[in-house]
Amino acid sequence: MIQVSHLTKLYGPHAAVSDLNFEVKKGEIVGFLGPNGAGKSTTMKILTGFMPATEGKVSVAGFDVFENPIEVKKNVGFLPENPPVYPDMTVQDYLDFSGRLHQIPKKNLQSAITQVLEKTALTQVRKRLIGNLSKGYRQRVGLAQALIHNPQVLILDEPTVGLDPKQIIEIRELIKGLAGDHTVILSSHILPEVTATCQRIIVINKGRIVAEDSLQELTARIRKGHIYSLMVKNPVQTGVEALRKIQGIHSVTAAGPKLVVEISPHAQEVRDQVIETAVKHQMGVLEFSAEKVSLEEIFLQLTTVENPSETTGATA
């Protein structure tokens, strides 16, 4: 559905995006992850035909973005970073206008508006001026605008910014519900966002792709073993030493009452021994639990560990 090859965008001498390659299949939800200024928005703006690339080829829904921008725009719904809303219009009028912009036939226009108002839970505020709505509502109006023409491809730049937790969950569910019929690309620098909605994650840093995989794969790639945390009352040194000696344990790090234990993935049965050892040394076990690797960690690893080689490669 979306094919990007050797995409480069220069702002003067500064490369916002350099040599990006990726592909998104029909019905997939893909997350763009990266710190602020990584090139996410730039990439999205190029995908939507808002701005042209300096180099490379981008095709969306079977049309080349540079050669056939109008066709691409017909098939894409875009929610930019700042929802593009007119404060002095009512929600209804605004959606009417964006529906007309996307050339929805007049007889289908009102039903399209009604549908999208329901989808984004805006029916109650349809007659209010957008300028009087809260940030969360405005964001949803922006999303409604992107959905109004039922596009094949949805490009959402930080769709849940400014929403309250309940709304975030609603929007996530909405986006998840779009998978299958629609192809979705969403960007975020908020990591749980991407975990919650996306099937595949593309991590971008300084205009380059540093990783592209599913969350599970990304997690596995970074960690050799599995991490457990053991909370004890007395983290006695002898006990810690004894734990370290157990076969199949990579490392034990003590930080106050919390011991972080890394166990090799092939030796999960040593978990019994961990408890036994702790009990034997009268450490007073409070809690033993598996620790999930957070995306934050993955992200930091990818952008800090892998980067030195890349930057030296670039300067050489």
Partner: protein, 256 residues
């Protein structure tokens, strides 16, 4: 180019004039000033003709020369003052609100967008001009004015106002600051009025060029009841050039 797209944009922007105070303020200001001018012209005209009759000095001044010409000549100046307020928001506001991203990522070409915006402001100016028809109506009820100069004055004024609109849309596309857009529009519009002042000092060839460039020199014929093809050509090229430059500016923003 698609008529439907142009209409979509024109409709939205024309409505926006009326959902904000802009249209009401501009129209009210315009009508108050025009009404005052009409009243002043009319009473001055009456006094003058009374004098002519009193001292038996002949035919006196015609309605065309005494009322129509000064009235529509003044209307042009008012448009010069007011058009910047009409056009300054057209693109500058879209940029400020980031709604330009909505337009640019919709299947609407730049030409449609520009023509739509131009049309919306054209409609507003037409409404303003339409309201002034009350003055000729009053003249027709109470007197016997010539129809020809009135019609050509309207055509000329509309063309001249469109030149300002085109200029204003161009400056609005340059910036996201409405004040800057408005001030530049006014300054440039005034410059194109006054450019002929330098013609006498500029020598014969350049003098002709400067006179030709001046907006006001092309309006004068219309005020006298003349539709001159070269004047129409000048106005239309002025409008076309302004819109073309707007297109170039908006296109170039994408490449930056």
């Amino acid at each position: 180019m698609s008529i439907r797209n142009i209409w979509t944009i024109a409709r939205k922007d024309f409505r926006a004039y009326f959902t904000s105070p802009i249209a009401y303020i501009v129209i009210a200001g315009f009508m108050v000033i025009m009404g005052w001018m009409f009243f002043f012209n009319l009473s001055h005209f009456n006094a003058q003709n009374m004098q002519y009759q009193q001292f038996n000095m002949g035919k006196g001044v015609s309605i065309t020369d005494g009322i129509i010409r000064p009235l529509y000549g003044n209307m042009n100046v008012i448009f010069l003052l007011l058009v910047p307020f009409i056009t300054m928001r057209l693109f500058a506001e879209e940029k400020k609100l980031h709604t330009i991203e909505l337009l640019m990522t919709s299947p609407v070409s730049l030409i449609d967008m520009i023509l739509g915006k131009f049309l919306s402001s054209f409609f507003l100016v037409s409404v303003m001009l339409g309201l002034t028809i009350v003055y000729p109506v009053v003249l027709f009820i109470t007197g016997n004015p010539e129809l020809g100069p009135i019609v050509t004055s309207y055509i000329g004024t509309l063309l001249l106002a469109c030149c300002y609109l085109s200029l204003g849309i161009f400056f609005s596309s340059l910036t996201e600051n409405q004040i800057v857009a408005g001030a530049l529009t006014f300054a440039a519009g005034l410059f194109f009025w006054l450019v002929s002042w330098a013609s006498q000092a500029a020598g014969s060839v350049w003098g002709d060029v400067l006179t030709y460039l001046s907006l006001i020199s092309h309006y004068n014929n219309f005020g006298q009841g003349l539709i001159n093809t070269s004047d129409v050509c000048y106005f239309l090229s002025f409008i076309g050039f302004g819109l073309f430059m707007t297109h170039r500016v908006l296109d170039s923003f994408r490449w930056r």
